[in-house]
Symmetry: C2
Subunit: 420 residues, 2 copies
C-alpha cells in the first residue's frame, strides 16, 4: 500500500478550539508515514477542494503547527457549504474526485458540525457511489454542542466558560452599582437552535442570589408577564437582576423574540436582537435602569479564556481522526465518551455518520428548571467539567500571540476550474 495524502477541511462557524483539532491532525499524521504522506488543507473548507485550492501544511514549521493549538478561529479558512445529494449535483462529486485523484487524496478529514457530518457521510460513500476509494472521518466541532453521539462538541466548552465567566463578572458589577444605578443587565449569547450556551451561563450561579438570576432558553416559550414578574421580584430581593438570554429565545408561536422586536409600542421597526428587545420591555414595563451586552463572535473567538478541557478534547479528536484513518476506518465521527462526572473522565470512540448527520442533540428538558428560568443540578453535573481548567495562550506586550500560517498553495494539477 502506498501512503496517501490527507485532505483536511474546517467547516461552518469557527471556534476557539477548532485549530487545536487541526494541530492534532497534522501532528498525528507525521506518525503514520506508512499510510499518510502529506496533509493538505482546503482553503476555505470544502470550497478549497472544489476549486482545487489546497494548502500544503508540510510547508509550515513545527512551531507554527503547535501554535495552532492556542490560536482561535480557522487557520485555513472555513465555509458554510453543504454538498447536495449525489442525484442533485453529480458534478460536484465528480469534481471532488477529480481533485482528490490529482492530489492522491486517500483520506478526507472533515472538521465541523451536523451539516458537515452530512457532507462527510456523502464523501465516505464515494467509494460505493462513484468508485473512488476514500476514507472519510468526521472531527466534531460546534460551539452549539448539538452533535449527537458524543458527550460534547469541541468548541462548546470554551464558549460555555466565556459565558459563565462573563455573567459572573457582570453580576459583580451590578451588585456594586445597583443601589444608585443599573438594576438589570442582559447578556445576549449565540445559539439559535438550542440553549446549551445560555445554560452554561448558569454555572456561574453557585449560591442563592448569584448571577445569573434568569436564563432564557430557545426551548422554553417566552412569557413576557412571567419574565417581568421574575425580573421585578429579583430586583426587589437582590437589588438587581442579571439575565443570560439566548439569541434563539422565542415566543409561544415559535417566533424569535429578536424578530418579534420588529415593531415596538409605536408600531415602529426596530433593529437588534434579543437583548435590546428585552431591555425595551423592561424599560417600558418596569422602568428599571438597565444595560445589555451582545457577545456575538467574541464568545466563540475568545481563546484567551478557553477551557483547558475543551482544548485538550479538540486536540485529541484531531489526533484520533488520523489514527482511525490509518487504521482503515471510514464513515465515522470521532466521539467523546464520558466515563464519569466526578472526577471527569472521558475516552474517545466512534459513531457511524449515518446516525450523526443532520441530527441535532437538543438539551434535555430536565436540564432546565421547572419554572424554565434556570438550569438544574443535572445540567450542572453535565456542564461543569466542560469548562474546567484554563489553557492560556502566550502573550507578548500584553497581547495573545496567535499564529498566522503561510498557507502555501499546492500547485494545481487538474488544469480545469469549477464553478457550481
Amino acid at each position: 500500500m502506498c501512503a496517501k495524502n490527507v485532505f483536511y477541511a474546517q467547516s461552518g462557524g469557527v471556534t476557539a478550539a477548532i485549530n487545536a483539532s487541526a494541530a492534532g491532525v497534522i501532528e498525528a499524521a507525521r506518525e503514520y508515514p506508512q499510510q499518510i504522506n502529506r496533509v493538505y488543507a482546503g482553503r476555505n473548507g470544502i470550497i478549497g477542494a472544489l476549486t482545487e485550492d489546497l494548502i500544503d501544511t508540510s510547508a509550515e514549521s513545527a512551531g507554527a503547527i503547535a501554535a495552532l493549538r492556542q490560536t482561535p478561529a480557522g487557520a485555513f479558512g472555513s465555509a458554510r457549504y453543504k454538498l447536495k445529494g449525489l442525484d442533485d449535483n453529480r458534478a460536484e462529486y465528480e469534481r471532488l474526485i477529480e481533485v482528490f485523484k490529482a492530489h492522491d487524496i486517500g483520506y478526507f478529514l472533515y472538521n465541523g458540525g451536523g451539516d458537515s457530518a452530512d457532507t462527510c457521510l456523502k464523501v465516505s460513500q464515494l467509494a460505493d457511489t462513484m468508485g473512488y476509494p476514500i476514507q472519510a472521518i468526521h472531527i466534531p466541532k460546534t460551539m452549539d454542542n448539538d452533535l449527537p453521539h458524543t458527550d460534547c462538541s469541541p468548541g462548546f466548552g470554551s464558549v460555555a466558560k466565556y459565558t459563565a465567566v462573563s455573567i459572573r463578572e457582570a453580576g459583580f458589577d451590578l451588585a456594586s452599582m445597583c443601589a444608585s444605578s443599573t438594576k438589570v443587565f442582559i447578556l445576549e449569547v449565540m445559539g439559535r437552535h438550542a440553549g446549551w450556551t445560555a445554560a452554561a451561563g448558569g454555572l456561574a450561579a453557585e449560591s442563592e442570589g448569584d448571577s445569573p438570576h434568569i436564563i432564557l432558553f430557545p426551548e422554553i416559550a417566552f412569557d413576557a408577564d412571567a419574565f417581568l414578574a421574575r425580573v421585578d421580584a429579583c430586583v426587589k430581593q437582590h437589588g438587581y437582576c442579571t439575565i443570560v438570554a439566548s439569541e434563539g429565545a422565542r415566543d409561544g408561536n415559535g417566533q424569535f423574540l429578536a424578530d418579534a422586536g420588529n415593531s415596538d409600542a409605536f408600531g415602529h421597526t426596530q433593529l437588534g436582537g434579543v437583548a435590546p428587545f428585552l431591555a425595551d420591555l423592561i424599560k417600558t414595563r418596569l422602568d428599571y435602569k438597565h444595560h445589555y451586552a451582545v457577545a456575538d463572535y467574541l464568545m466563540r473567538a475568545a481563546r484567551h479564556i478557553a477551557s483547558a478541557t475543551d482544548i485538550e478534547q479538540a486536540y485529541a479528536v484531531g489526533r484520533a481522526a488520523v489514527e482511525y484513518a490509518a487504521a482503515g476506518k471510514s464513515g465515522v465521527m470521532v466521539s467523546i465518551k464520558r466515563e464519569s462526572d466526578t472526577p471527569y473522565r472521558w475516552t474517545l470512540g466512534e459513531a457511524p455518520l449515518e446516525q450523526v448527520a443532520n441530527v441535532e442533540k437538543k438539551m434535555p428538558r430536565d436540564y432546565i428548571s421547572t419554572d424554565g428560568f434556570h438550569i438544574t443540578a443535572a445540567a450542572r453535573r453535565y456542564l461543569q467539567p466542560l469548562i474546567a481548567g484554563e489553557d492560556y495562550p502566550a502573550y507578548v506586550d500584553g497581547l495573545p500571540q496567535y499564529v498566522r500560517l503561510n498557507n502555501v498553495a499546492v500547485a494545481r494539477k487538474t488544469g480545469t476550474t469549477f464553478t457550481n
Copy 2:
C-alpha cells in the same frame, strides 16, 4: 496625636481594578498604627457616609482583603453621587461632619474619577469651611482614562487590554469566514466622552491588514460616506473589515450616532447603540453580511483578562493614599508619573485636587491618524505599556474565584437619619 479612622469609599462606575486599590488602602493602613486605627468603607460610596452606613473592614480576614486584588467591581458598593457646593447644600456637609465626628474619621480616601475628585476636594476643604479637621486624598479610578495630571487612570489598562484582545480574536474569526460568510464586524465599546478605550483596540493591529481596520472616536466627526468607502475598500483589500466603535461616536453636529439611529430609512424609531446603527448603514449601503458585539459592562468587569500593569498601579495608588494621609497630606490625588516608555517605568506622585476636579483629559489629536480612522505611533507608545502583563485570578472548577466580603456594618452612633 491619637490614631483616627479612615473613611474609604468607591465612587462612580466600577472597574476590574478598583478593588485592588481597596486592598492597597486596607493593607497599608495596618502599617500605620500610630496614625490610623480602622478603615471604614462607605456602603455604596459616599451615600454610606450620609446614611451612616459604614462597613468595618477590620472584620474581614486578611485573605479576603488580599483576594480583593483579584476581584472586579466595587466590593463595598459604589455610587454615582456628586456633592453639591457648600452654599447649595450645607446640610449634606453638616451631616458628613456629624457622621465623621461620631466615628472618629480623620481621613477621607475617595476612589473615583473626575466628578469624585470634585467631591474629594470639597471634603478636603471642610477644615477651612466648617472647622472639621480631615485629610482628604483622592485615589484615581476610571476606565475612561480621562483624569488629568496622571499618566493614566487605574481601571483603564484592563479595559484597554480587553478591547485589544477581543478585536484581535474577532479579527481571526472574520478572516476565517469572510470568503463565504460575514465580511464586516463591529465591536461597540464604552466611553461616551473620549476615545481612549476605542483607541486601545488599535493596539491589536501590529502589521498591515491586522484588526481592527477602522476605529471610530468621539473626537472625530462621523462622515458616513468616508466611513463606508473605507469599509468597502477594506473588504475588497483584505476580504473583511473589523471596526471598533466608541459608543460616543457622533456626527458633525455633535449628535451621538446612537441617538441619530432614532430614525431609520423609513422614519421609524430604532433602539440600540452605535453598533446596530453602523450595521444598518453597512447593510443598507454596502449589503455586506455583518455581525456586531456590544461589550458594555463585560469590558469593565473583565477581571479575567486584566492588565497586570493596571492591577499593580491600582494597588499602588491605594497604598500611596494611606502613606500620604499618614504623612499629613490632604487635598491631593495620587498620580502616576511615567518615567519612560521602553522599558515602561513609573513612579507615584501627587496632584492638587483643584487641578484635577472636573477636568477631563482629552485624547491628544496626534494620537489619532490624519484620516481619523486609526491610532498613531505616539498613541501606541502611550497605550502599549498599560495593557502589559497578565494578572489572572485563581480558578476553581473552571470559574474565577471572586471574593464577596461580609461587609459588617459599624454600629450607628448619631441617632439621626439623613434624607437629601
